[in-house]
C-alpha cells in the first residue's frame, strides 16, 4: 500500500514536471517567435534605411559631378569674359 502511494505520488510529481517542461517550451517558443518578428521588422526597416542611404550616397556623387560641371562652366564663362575684356582693353 505504502509503495503504491509513494509510486502514485512520484508519478504525479514526474507528470507535473513533464507538463511544466512542456509549458516552458511553449512559452519560450512564443517568446522566440515574438523576438524573431521584431528582428524581421527591424531588418526590414534597416533595409529600407540602407536603400535611402544608398540613394543619398548616389545623390552626393551626382552633386559632386554637378559641382564639377558648374565649376567648369563658371570657369569657362569667366575665361570668356576676361578674354573679351582683354580684347577691348577694359582690364585696366
Amino acid at each position: 500500500m505504502f509503495i503504491i502511494i509513494i509510486s502514485a505520488f512520484l508519478s504525479s510529481v514526474i507528470l507535473f514536471l513533464t507538463y511544466k517542461i512542456k509549458k516552458e517550451q511553449e512559452d519560450h517558443s512564443i517568446k522566440i517567435k515574438f523576438l524573431q518578428n521584431i528582428i524581421n521588422d527591424l531588418l526590414e526597416m534597416n533595409k529600407n534605411q540602407e536603400s535611402k542611404v544608398k540613394l543619398s550616397d548616389s545623390l552626393i556623387q551626382n552633386l559632386y559631378n554637378a559641382r564639377n560641371n558648374i565649376d567648369q562652366n563658371v570657369f569657362d564663362l569667366q575665361k570668356e569674359i576676361i578674354e573679351k575684356l582683354a580684347a577691348n582693353n577694359l582690364l585696366d
Binding site: L10, L17, I39, N46, K47, K52, V53, A66, L77
Partner: protein
C-alpha cells in the same frame, strides 16, 4: 487381522516375483557382465534393485543407488521414477518408513511432471500405506483417495477396488464402521462382478470383521463362511486361518466349545503347513478358551505359560498378553493357586501401567512432534513473511530509486533546456540591440543628408537666381556668353530636379505605383511643354494597386521610365506614349511603348541613357530589354521581382 488388506496389496505386487527371483538375478548379472550400453546397464541395475528386494534388502539398496546414478547421468526420468518407486518398496520392507516416504515422494514428483497417471496412482497407493504405518491417517486417506481417482482415470478398476478395501481398513482403524462398510461395498461390488476371488476372500473377511465389531454375529458368520469358501477354492491359507480363528471365537462365545475346538484344530493344521508361527497365537488363545470350557485347567495353563513367554517382549501383542494373564488368573483360581492369581493380577496391573505409559509416551511424542511441526511451520511462515517483507522493501526501494533517477534526469533536462532557452533569448536580444544601433546610425546619417540636401537645394536655387539676374541686368548681347550662362542655369535646374526627386524618394517610406504615376505625369507635363501633340497614357494593373516599392526600387524604376519617355519625346517623333505596369507570376513588368519611327537595335550602340537604365535595373535585381524596328515604334521592357 485388520492389516491383512495392506499385506495383500504388497503381497500382490511382490509375490509373483519371489519364486524365480534368484534365477532372474543370476540372469541379470550375466547380462551385466557382457558390457551392455549405458541404457541397458541402468535398466539392469533397476531390475536388480527390484528382484533383490525379496532376497537381500542391502543388495537391493546397493543396486538402487547405482541405478539412480546411471539414470541421472542418462537423464532418463521414467527410469529414475521407477527406481525411486522400487526403493520406496524396499525401504518399506525394511520398515524404514521415512526413507520409503521420501523415495515415493521423489518418484511421485517425477511422474507428476511427466503426467504419468498410472505411475502416480501406484505411488499414491504405496505412499498411503507408508502414511498408514506412520499413523498419519489423514495423509494416508488423502493418498488413498488420490490413488483411487488415478486408478479410475486409467481404467484400472481392480486396483481401485483394492485401494477402496484399504480405505475401508483405515476407517476400521478409526472405528468409523459406517464409512468402512461403504468403501468395502464398492470393492466387493467390483470383485463380485468381475469374479476377482483373491480380493473377494479378503474383502469378505473384512466385512465379517466389521459386522463382528458391530456385534452382528449372524452377518459376521455369513461373510466369514463366504470368505472361507473362496479361500479354500483359491488356496489362500492365510485368509482361511484368519476366518477359522474368527469363527472359532464366535462359536466359543456362543458356548459351542466342540465346534470351536474343531475349527481351532483345522486352523492349527493349516498353520503348520504354511509355517506361520505368529498367527498361531490367536489360534492358541482359542484353544485355551476351549480347554478352560472343558475344565482342562492344567493343559490350558501350560499353553498359557508358553504364550506368556512369547508375548512378553512383543509390545504389539500386549493385548493378547493381557488376555493370557486373564486366562492364567482364571486357571490359577480354578487350580486354587492364590499366589499365582495375585501375581498375575499384579502383572496385569503392571502391564496396563506399561501400556498407559507407552500410550502416554506415544501421545507425548506425537504432541511434541506436532508442537515441533507447528513451531517449524511458524518459523517457516515467519521466514516467508520476512522474505516477503524484504522483497517488498527491495521492490519499493527499486521503484523509489527509479523515480528519483527519472526525477533527476527531468530536472537536469529542464535546467539544460532553460540554459539553452536563455542563451537563445540572449542571442536574439543582442541581435535586436545591434540592429537597433545600426538603424539609429543610419537614421542619423539620413538626417545629416537631409540637412545637406536642403542647403544644397538653397545654394542651387541661388545659383539659378544669380545667373538669371546677371543675364537680365547685364543685358548680354554676346551669344557665347549667353549660351554659357544658359548652360549653367539649365544644368543647375537639372540638378535641382534630381535633388528633388531623390528627396522625394528618401522622404517616402514606401512608393506605390500611384505615386510613381503622378511623378511621371508631372515630369511629362514639364517635358512636353514644347510638343503638345503627344498623348500620354499610364496604365497600372489592379492587382498592383497595393504593391509598395522600396525607395531604391521606386527611384530606379522612376529614373528608367523617365529616361525612356525622355528618349521617346526627344528622338522618336511619336505622338502616343503608353506606360503599362502589369503583374505576371510575382514579377512586375513595365512596358514603355511609343509609336515613333523606331530604330534598328543591332546598328545603334547603347548610349549613356540606355546603359544607365540597364545598370539601374540590375541594381534592383531586374532586367532591361529594348525592342524596336524602324517605322514600328519602340518598346522598352523592365522586369523585376515585387
Amino acid at each position: 487381522m485388520k492389516k491383512i488388506h495392506l499385506f495383500l496389496l504388497i503381497f500382490c505386487f511382490t509375490v509373483s516375483y519371489s519364486q524365480n527371483a534368484q534365477e532372474i538375478i543370476n540372469k541379470l548379472k550375466k547380462d551385466l557382465s557382457s558390457n551392455p550400453d549405458d541404457k541397458k546397464t541402468a535398466s539392469i541395475y533397476s531390475d536388480l534393485t527390484w528382484y533383490y528386494a525379496n532376497i537381500s534388502v542391502d543388495s537391493s539398496l546397493f543396486y538402487g543407488s547405482k541405478a539412480i546414478k546411471e539414470a541421472e547421468r542418462l537423464k532418463d526420468s521414467t527410469l529414475l521414477a521407477q527406481i525411486y518407486s522400487d526403493l520406496g518398496a524396499v525401504y518399506f520392507r525394511k520398515t524404514d518408513f521415512e526413507a520409503s516416504k521420501n523415495s515415493y515422494l521423489i518418484a511421485y514428483k517425477i511422474r507428476k511432471i511427466r503426467n504419468d497417471k498410472t505411475g502416480m496412482a501406484k505411488i499414491a497407493a504405496n505412499l498411503a500405506n507408508v502414511y498408514n504405518k506412520q499413523n498419519q491417517k489423514e495423509l494416508a486417506l488423502k493418498s488413498y483417495l488420490e490413488s483411487v481417482e488415478y486408478f479410475e482415470k486409467t481404467n484400472n478398476f481392480e486396483a481401485a477396488a483394492l485401494t477402496n478395501a484399504n480405505i475401508s481398513s483405515l476407517f476400521m482403524d478409526l472405528k468409523n464402521y459406517q464409512k468402512a462398510s461403504k468403501y468395502l461395498n464398492k470393492a466387493i461390488q467390483y470383485q463380485e462382478e468381475n469374479n476377482k476371488l483373491d480380493g473377494l476372500s479378503t474383502s469378505y473377511l473384512t466385512k465379517g470383521n466389521i459386522f463382528l465389531r458391530l456385534s452382528d454375529t449372524l452377518n459376521a458368520l455369513k461373510y466369514y463362511k463366504k470368505c472361507l469358501k473362496i479361500s479354500r477354492e483359491i488356496g489362500n491359507k492365510i485368509s482361511e486361518v484368519a476366518v477359522l480363528n474368527n469363527i472359532s471365537k464366535i462359536k466359543n462365545d456362543q458356548n459351542k466349545g466342540n465346534e470351536s475346538k474343531i475349527l481351532n484344530q483345522q486352523s492349527a493344521q493349516i498353520l503348520s503347513k504354511i509355517n506361520k508361527s505368529k498367527d498361531d497365537t490367536s489360534l492358541s488363545l482359542n484353544v485355551v478358551s476351549s480347554l478352560i470350557t472343558d475344565h482342562k485347567f492344567l493343559e490350558a495353563k501350560k499353553i498359557l505359560l508358553k504364550l506368556k513367554k512369547e508375548y512378553s517382549n512383543e509390545p504389539a501383542y500386549f493385548e493378547d498378553l493381557i488376555q493370557t494373564y486373564n486366562y492364567l488368573i482364571q486357571t490359577s483360581s480354578q487350580l486354587n493357586q492364590k499366589d499365582s492369581v495375585s501375581f498375575y493380577s499384579n502383572a496385569i496391573m503392571r502391564l496396563q501401567d506399561k501400556i498407559i505409559e507407552q500410550t502416554v509416551r506415544k501421545q507425548t511424542n506425537e504432541f511434541e512432534t506436532k508442537y515441533q511441526t507447528v513451531k517449524k511451520e511458524k518459523l517457516i511462515a515467519q521466514q516467508k513473511e520476512e522474505v516477503k517483507y524484504k522483497n517488498i522493501l527491495l521492490l519499493g526501494l527499486t521503484i523509489i530509486v527509479f523515480f528519483i533517477a527519472l526525477f533527476g534526469f527531468l530536472i537536469f533536462r529542464q535546467q539544460k533546456l532553460k540554459n539553452k532557452q536563455q542563451k537563445q533569448e540572449f542571442e536574439l536580444k543582442s541581435a535586436i540591440t545591434q540592429i537597433e544601433k545600426q538603424n539609429e546610425l543610419q537614421q542619423q546619417r539620413l538626417s545629416i543628408s537631409k540637412d545637406l540636401h536642403d542647403n544644397i537645394g538653397a545654394q542651387l536655387t541661388f545659383i539659378i537666381s544669380s545667373v538669371e539676374t546677371a543675364k537680365y541686368v547685364a543685358d548680354i548681347k554676346n551669344t557665347t556668353l549667353e549660351s554659357k550662362l544658359s548652360n549653367i542655369s539649365n544644368f543647375t535646374k537639372d540638378t535641382i530636379v534630381e535633388l528633388r526627386d531623390t528627396i522625394w524618394a528618401m522622404n517616402s517610406e514606401t512608393i506605390n505605383f500611384e505615386d510613381l504615376r503622378l511623378r511621371i505625369l508631372n515630369f511629362i507635363e514639364k517635358a512636353t511643354t514644347a510638343t503638345t501633340d503627344i498623348s500620354f497614357n499610364f496604365m497600372v494593373d489592379n492587382a498592383l494597386k497595393n504593391t509598395h516599392l522600396s525607395s531604391v526600387q521606386g527611384m530606379n524604376v522612376y529614373r528608367c521610365i523617365q529616361e525612356a519617355i525622355n528618349n521617346a519625346i526627344k528622338y522618336s517623333e511619336a505622338n502616343n506614349i503608353l506606360v503599362e505596369v502589369i503583374l505576371d507570376k510575382n514579377e512586375i513588368k513595365i512596358i514603355i511603348k511609343d509609336n515613333g519611327k523606331g530604330f534598328d537595335v543591332e546598328t545603334i550602340s547603347n548610349g549613356n541613357g540606355l546603359q544607365n537604365m540597364q545598370k539601374r535595373m540590375e541594381e534592383i535585381g531586374g532586367t532591361f530589354q529594348i525592342v524596336s524596328e524602324p517605322t514600328k515604334g519602340t518598346q522598352i521592357k523592365l522586369n523585376f521581382k515585387s
